[in-house]
Symmetry: C2
Subunit: 208 residues, 2 copies
């Protein structure tokens, strides 16, 4: 029995191999069970960081596959300058619309916010009806829904009747329950800690 | 008193404006307090979706600002093909390294995994010591740390002594507590639901 071997005569590396084999069988079985192949609705919600940036990461992934993509930003922040500068370079593949008028506490004008959100939704609804779009990112739509600037039933109907292969990613805190029910994949981004609370300014490349 | 006005004579829109003003003051005060301007360490952990894609979204943001970026993927999945295809196009700005050998249950060879993770860490450590890199993404490093393929103390020391303006994003489930302590911003991506469990295959543009 060699050094480090257990009572079955297995070395740690052999143990690792045995465990890895069992895990691989489990994963392979799960993959074999996942046979449905269609577009999905992904919702990123919660108070933590990464909801929009994850959406833009999936946009990059989609572009890597040569997909035709649509982006509608429902809230134009003083934030979100870097990704816009970047993705606007690919205007052969990405239709990029920044429609919102800033966070509601910045515009301080509900009537203007409602008009801007309605115009943004019109653009989004057109994309959701058009099979030419493989991937549609509706950034911060959840905020427009929570504030009832955009009608939830209209969004649910557009998602339900969209082209079968089309992926849709919807971001923003406070995703309505009915949207969570309608979605295929939902993630809650939970704050563990945030640099901003420790007095660190929003950073280019990270938040901006 | 006009229709819809309250006992103070305010219409709903005026109410909204008042609330928005108070919120703006609060947000402005918080922004004024955040005066520290330096590179941050961001950790995306948890079992949910969006850890890596958020990292790639911040990479896109960084490229939008013309930052010089480094990427090391510690676990090369059968996944993660779209973002590699995409970001390799920007080889003037991005050093892209895929160093891992696949998920551990796929390689089934601990010794080979340890060597691959060590080589990946060598590349990462070089980036963390080089002020030419404005943004460094260490994708799935947490898994290599949890499995003790990479030494946690070496990672903490490299983060602590990195160039002051450099941003680092570290992803992967199971972030060690000491790394969470050392980070500036930490998000837990929590699964609410996942398409895969409902039998839907991993999708290009979303997972692949």
């Amino acid at each position: 029995m060699s050094a480090g071997a257990d009572r079955r005569g297995l070395t740690p590396d052999e143990h690792h191999r045995e465990r890895a084999q069992r895990k691989k069988e489990l994963v392979d079985r799960r993959i074999a069970r996942a046979t449905i192949d269609r577009g999905v609705v992904v919702v990123n919600t919660g108070n933590g960081k990464g909801k929009s940036s994850s959406g833009f990461g999936m946009l990059a992934r989609s572009l890597g596959h040569g997909f035709r993509c649509g982006v509608v930003q429902f809230i134009k922040g003083s934030f979100s300058t870097g990704e816009e500068a970047f993705f606007r370079r690919f205007d052969d593949l990405v239709d990029y619309h920044v429609m919102g008028e800033g966070y509601t506490w910045e515009t301080q004008d509900r009537a203007r916010d409602v008009v801007a959100a309605g115009a943004a939704w019109d653009v989004a609804a057109r994309m959701l009806a058009d099979p030419a779009y493989d991937f549609v990112l509706l950034d911060e739509l959840n905020i427009a829904l929570t504030k009832q600037y955009v009608d939830l039933d209209a969004v649910l109907a557009a998602l339900a009747s969209r082209p079968e292969r089309q992926h849709v990613v919807i971001t923003g805190r406070g995703a309505p329950d009915a949207l969570v029910d309608a979605a295929d994949t939902v993630t809650e981004m939970r704050v563990v800690k945030h640099a901003f609370k420790a007095g660190i300014k929003a950073q280019h490349g990270i938040e901006l």
